[in-house]
């Protein structure tokens, strides 16, 4: 339904998108991930036909967004990040207007559809209040209503759950999943749990380059060849840590609760309290058995031992920071400050320019530690 081929975009000298390729099929919900300024909004704006690409083609429902713009737009529903709405209209008036310009010419059908969609998004209470007086949550839903109104095959949603309360977030996610069964949806978000909950597939872009593309589950397995083991052990933490670190193949061992919860470090290290330890090992090694025997052999009680799948956050940070690492190593990197050139909401998208480099994956643990530090800064 959506085909993006060799998409490249320059804003003046700023290389915003570098040869982006991906496809989204009907019934797929694609999660669009990336840090601020990575080019998510730019890509979405090109797909919706708001801005033209410098080169490359984008087809929506088989129509080129450049040559057959009107046909492509008829198949599209779009919710921009900023949720721009006419504050001087009521949701009912606004949706009626959107319906008219989206080709719903039959007044009766349009009215039915408008109340249907307002019902779906719980907008009935505010249907006749001015949009300008509505809260962020309601506006967000009016924006969603506008995108869904003409029943488009393809939905482009730029951070659709921002500004909603937890109950509404759950509702909207359920709605998106429901809609995604027979439609095609691209959803950009900063909330990584949202991706694993809603999306069938993830595209991660960073600095205008597509760095990873997979299902959330695959991505998790893939990037997580390293296994993190969590142990619950009773005993003085400093001794336990020493034992854990002595196991061959262990790269880091930490007891986050000691650091976080207890002020008196000395007392904490000598008592016999139960703590949770996190151990990371070299790639591909199963550390569970050696760890268990080491702990028991040292005379401490092992209460629990489990392998932890790294969260999507971790994978995301890994993928992105590996990229950053390479960027930092690149000697001839050029930073172009755009300043006035990029006005409006897109200013976020124009952080800096870097010379192209290939997305090589590394699994050297020491480097990974280094990258995580970078990210924290």
């Amino acid at each position: 339904m959506i085909e993006v081929e060799h998409l490249t975009k320059f804003y003046g000298p700023f290389h915003a998108l570098k040869d982006i390729n991906f496809k989204v099929e009907r019934g797929e919900i694609l999660g669009f991930l990336g840090p601020n300024g990575a080019g998510k909004t730019t890509t979405m704006r090109i797909i919706t036909g708001y801005i033209p690409a410098t080169s490359g083609t984008v087809r929506v429902a088989g129509f080129d967004v450049n040559d057959k713009s009107m046909d492509a737009r008829r198949h599209l529903g779009y919710l921009p990040e900023t949720v721009p709405l006419y504050t001087e209209l009521t949701p009912r008036e606004y949706l009626d207007f959107r319906g008219r310009i989206s080709g719903m010419h039959n007044t009766k059908d349009r009215r039915t559809r408008t109340s249907e969609i307002m019902d779906l998004l719980n907008l009935d209470d505010v249907a006749d209040k001015l949009i300008g007086s509505l809260s962020r949550g309601y506006r967000q839903r009016v924006g969603l209503a506008q995108a869904l109104l003409h029943n488009p095959d393809v939905l482009i949603l730029d951070e659709p759950t921002v500004g909603l309360d937890p109950v509404q977030i759950t509702e909207v996610r359920d709605l998106i999943r429901e809609l995604g069964r027979e439609r095609t949806i691209i959803l950009s978000t900063h909330l990584l749990p949202e991706v694993s909950m809603v999306c069938n597939r993830v595209v991660i872009i960073n600095r205008g380059r597509l760095v990873a593309q997979d299902t959330p589950i695959h991505l998790a397995e893939d990037a997580a060849n390293r296994k993190t083991v969590q142990l619950e052990v009773s005993g003085p933490s400093s001794d336990v840590l020493r034992v854990l670190r002595s196991v061959s193949g262990v790269t880091t061992a930490s007891a986050p609760e000691t650091a976080a919860n207890e002020g008196e470090a000395d007392a904490a290290s000598s008592d016999g309290l139960v703590r949770t330890y996190t151990v990371e090992g070299q790639t591909g090694m199963d550390l569970r058995a050696p760890l268990a025997s080491a702990v028991v052999g040292a005379g401490y009680d092992l209460l629990e031992l489990k392998t932890v799948q790294p969260s999507l956050e971790q994978i995301f940070i890994d993928v992105i920071s590996r990229e950053e690492e390479f960027a930092a190593e690149e000697p001839e990197e050029e930073d172009v400050d755009l300043g006035d050139e990029a006005d409006g909401p897109d200013a976020v998208d124009s952080a800096r320019v870097r010379t192209p480099r290939s997305a090589v994956r590394t699994s050297d643990p020491s480097e990974r530690i280094a990258t995580r530090k970078r990210v924290r800064r």
């Binding site: 704006r45 919706t48 036909g49 708001y50 801005i51 033209p52 009107m70 737009r73 008829r74 599209l76 779009y78 921009p80 900023t82 721009p84 709405l85 006419y86 504050t87 001087e88 209209l89 008036e93 207007f97 959107r98 008219r100 310009i101 989206s102 080709g103 010419h105 001015l130 506008q146 006005d343 409006g344 909401p345 897109d346």
Partner: protein
């Protein structure tokens, strides 16, 4: 075409949601009422001088009518949704222009009350020049509004848009006078562009087809340029 009317209707409604339109219309009616009273007091029932003053008033008022049209949508970002809807750029521009023209036509329509008042008070105005004067006002207003919407497409700041429109109008207004200081050929060309000079014959009851075509084509060219500006802005977005 349906989209054009939809957008025009939405624009017209938006005018009356904010107090701006009421302030402008009230100011307009008070000012024109004063001119009319002045004309009647000087025993001139032809309204010719009233038309002459009204077009100066239009210089000030028409930028206020058009400044919002595209600049505000650009500022709030609603233009993004409008330009990704299945609507051509020209339909957006034309729709917004017609919306402004609708309000303008209502404003000059309301001033018809004054000649009617004249009749009610037992006067016997010559209706021919009045009607042709109103036609002239409509045509002149169209070209003013077209300049205004062009200025509104250039920026996302309403005030800046109003100032640009006012300056452009002023230049085209006084160009006839200024051009006499320049060389022969230049002045001949420039004075042809002068918007106000062509208006003078309308309140005298003379409708010259050349003038009508001038105003209409001037409006069309301005709107065409505006569509180009809107399209070019996509590249900068």
């Amino acid at each position: 075409m349906r989209n054009v009317l939809t957008i025009a209707g939405k624009e017209l409604r938006s005018y009356f949601v904010s107090p701006v339109a009421y302030v402008i219309v009230a100011f307009w009616l008070v000012a024109t009422g004063f001119f009319f009273w002045f004309a009647v007091n000087s025993n001139d029932a032809s309204l010719r001088n009233v038309f002459g003053v009204i077009i100066v008033l239009l210089l000030l008022i028409s930028p206020a009518l058009t400044m919002r049209l595209l600049a505000e949508e650009s500022r709030t970002g609603t233009l993004e949704l409008l330009l990704t809807a299945p609507v051509q750029d020209w339909a957006v521009v034309l729709g917004k222009f017609l919306g402004a023209l609708g309000l303008y036509a209502t404003m000059i329509g309301l001033t018809l009350f004054y000649p009617i008042l004249l009749v009610l008070l037992g006067g016997n105005p010559d209706w021919g020049p009045i009607w042709s004067g109103y036609l002239g006002l409509l045509l002149l207003g169209m070209s003013f509004l077209a300049i205004g919407i062009f200025a509104s497409a250039l920026t996302s700041n309403q005030m800046v848009s109003a100032v640009i429109a006012f300056v452009l109008l002023l230049v085209l207004f006084i160009i006839g006078q200024v051009s006499s200081f320049l060389g022969e050929g230049v002045s001949g060309f420039l004075s042809k562009l002068a918007l106000s000079d062509r208006f003078d014959s309308f309140p005298r009851g003379v409708i010259d087809l050349k003038d009508v075509i001038f105003y209409l084509s001037f409006t069309a060219v301005m709107l065409f340029i505006t569509v180009q500006v809107v399209e070019a802005r996509r590249y900068r977005a």
